[in-house]
Symmetry: C4
């Protein structure tokens, strides 16, 4: 077995000697990296912890860069890997660090660098490489995609129309909360999803009557896709269970 095969099987968890160890180590790094993004934001973080986080981020990027290089080197067709879904994810997982260095070199401000850091979350997608349950979810999605898109478009139109109507009713009474139709859309979205923070709400009688009518009609339009995905998932599970019970029959022969 040449070194390419050793590396490729180790990365995929099929190496005869190492087994899943390399794979599990990479998973642990991904989770550590995601968690460190949260810990970074803690106020009053002591200096040593900040240093530790910065150093470990460099180490994480080094490992992921090595992983990317090795996958590129051992892939049957390097160009195919680089253009595949996981090839792009692997690249996006390390790109923010190097782009951040470049930006800092050009003296760009911190906000842009900070927004770039969010790209590091792409690393979580690397976990999907090994999850088989994703397949079932994907086929449930394919089954209901069309309805969900129709309802998604309907939801956006409903939000916009509700915002236009409530703006006419509430703008004069609350010129700050309902300053424009786009502020009214924030109200409509928070209301129709039943979150209801209470930062904006109608105060006029006609605005309240409209809100109640809107809630009863529109809740259905927004809540239905959930039910569709759930029932599609159930159907797929039932079908898989039926296939598991019935062993594949031998080709039918005319025994009669």
């Amino acid at each position: 077995m040449d070194w390419r095969k050793h590396v490729a099987t180790a990365l995929d968890g099929r190496h005869p000697g190492l087994g899943h160890r390399v794979e599990l180590g990479l998973h642990a790094l991904i989770l550590y990296s995601a968690l460190s993004m949260g810990v970074e934001t803690l106020p009053d973080l002591p200096g040593w912890a900040q240093t530790l986080l910065s150093v470990s981020e460099i180490a994480v990027v080094a490992v992921f860069t090595a992983e990317y290089a090795l996958r590129l080197a051992t892939a049957p067709a390097p160009g195919g890997y680089a253009r595949s879904f996981f090839g792009i994810v692997d690249l996006l997982a390390i790109a923010p660090f190097y782009l951040g260095l470049v930006f800092a070199g050009f003296g760009l401000d911190l906000r842009a660098v900070r927004a770039l850091r969010l790209l590091r979350l792409v690393r979580l997608l690397k976990l999907a490489r090994y999850t088989s349950a994703i397949d079932r979810f994907a086929s449930a999605w394919r089954a209901v995609k069309e309805e969900v898109v129709v309802f998604g478009v309907a939801a956006v139109i409903v939000l916009y129309v509700c915002a236009l109507v409530i703006y006419q009713f509430e703008h004069d009474a609350q010129p700050e909360a309902f300053a424009s139709v786009f502020d009214a859309m924030w109200w409509a979205a928070v209301t129709l999803t039943t979150v209801g923070y209470g930062d904006v709400y109608p105060v006029t009688s006609i605005g309240r009557v409209f809100t109640v009518l809107m809630l009863f009609v529109a809740l259905g339009i927004i809540a239905i896709p959930t039910g569709l995905v759930a029932s599609a998932l159930s159907a797929i599970r039932a079908k898989e269970a039926a296939e598991d019970r019935e062993p594949p029959r031998p080709p039918a022969t005319d025994r009669n």
Copy 2:
């Protein structure tokens, strides 16, 4: 092919030369027109933008008026088109502009004109002319219409009864928030849809106990129609899928 046929096929997207271009152009105008209603409401809109919006509204109305006239002229039976669903929608889509001119001519105040403008949203219904998924939704609706109406009436009665009861409990403690049964209905609707803005809530012990009981009993009555529509949609989708799989059988012949 005479000019009537050219125009009729162009509007329906079946013209041999123009194809879907006229249709898509009209769709773009509808979306532009709906979006401009929102942009109008932005505070601190510069003068040139206001002028642009007013001028483009005139252009949009001119195009839709021409469309209405052409559809009327090329329809096999003009009276039939004028009384059809989309004939009425096409008329309502341009009527507000002309009515607004008339109202302004008679010196009516701005509020009435502003409310009229909302009628322009009817234009969005023109998009439904080309959406086939609407059919599936319509047959799901027919399947569950009866239950939804029963639950709708039940929901209104539940809201009213809950409002009467909570008014008795909370009016003395919060004479402003629960000023009348109709204020209490606002509370009941916001609570039973689980929006819960927090602008009105019970403070007495008995009012709170009633609220909890009400929520557990009444949530079901309001939430069930959603589930019904979702399962009816699933059933229709399953039926269509079954029909797609089974090719239409040849007319049965008595082979026995």
Copy 3:
């Protein structure tokens, strides 16, 4: 046809000459009576309107008293009617008025009389006499009763346990909002139904962590009965539709 038969058929909407007129008139009275309970609560109601409401309430009670007396006189077994579901409802619909007179005669305070008035809402149950869709709902309820009771008991236990736990975490930080476990139950009910008024919420870290865990685990327990009723209703509708399609077969004869 003697007068008893005339009256009995008129009340049931099966009278050859009057048809549904008496029945519809009684329905209108029920709705008027329910609506007038709401209008009574409007502040700043002019004196003539208050007089109108009081006088019309006396008229409504007179009609319902006459209806009760006539049903009692024309029933095949007066005792059977008086003890039937609708016999009790018909009595409860007029009892509050006469009890209010008695209470006022004994000089009892207004609060007791006001609470009594809520009993007038029982009149709405009289509408159920003519609604056939109630049957379908009743058989759906029978199908899922057992699960709903189990989940209802589970919901009460979950609320109580959550209230006990959050009280331990939040009482010291917010001694007023979480004054006792029964105040904490109000918070638990408002949170688990996702109403979330915002009048009470946890502020300690451990209280917030517990709230999040509680929401994810307990939302299922409270939301499931709704889904059960919806799917039971769908099943019953499907069964009825199947029975409508298949005409009742002739008694099977052994034709082979």
Copy 4:
């Protein structure tokens, strides 16, 4: 019948003379004990009530200790009972009292003792010994366990990613409400479950746009497991109903 058999059947509700009386008495004690934990927290509780609660708690623990000792003495294999699910529950139901005594003996502070008291809630699990509907719920759970775990992990990841993103958008505008990613997770959990207390909400335009997108995408991910459990429960109920209708067929014999 020796005394062991008398005791064992009395505890299980199968004693020829006592029947379910001992069992029901133990249930009443469990409910009394759970309720007294709530009553204890009432402020301004008179001294005699506090004394009553303390004394009755000692009595409850004495009864449960006796029950534990008797079950241990009459079990066919005492070690088997002690290691069984209900053996551990029975032990945990009395342990807090004795541990509290020990802690008080060592002069430990009241907070630790108070947290220990929560362990008394384990007693409620003793009720599950007699509830057969738990079985149906357990098999529904087994049917959907895999999906629920996948969605649970997905929900945690979604919460964390949403918290990281909103922190970037809102931290500068509201440094106190969004002090760290872990505060942002509280916002994300309260929003995605649609509770929406209104204690924390986005105020920047980009934060609001992100919130709306997040709600539409993520509500599905969190709401779906509920639908799955409900449909699994329906399927199990349907299967049980089918088995009840079909009497067990005699073993198939080859009659042809």
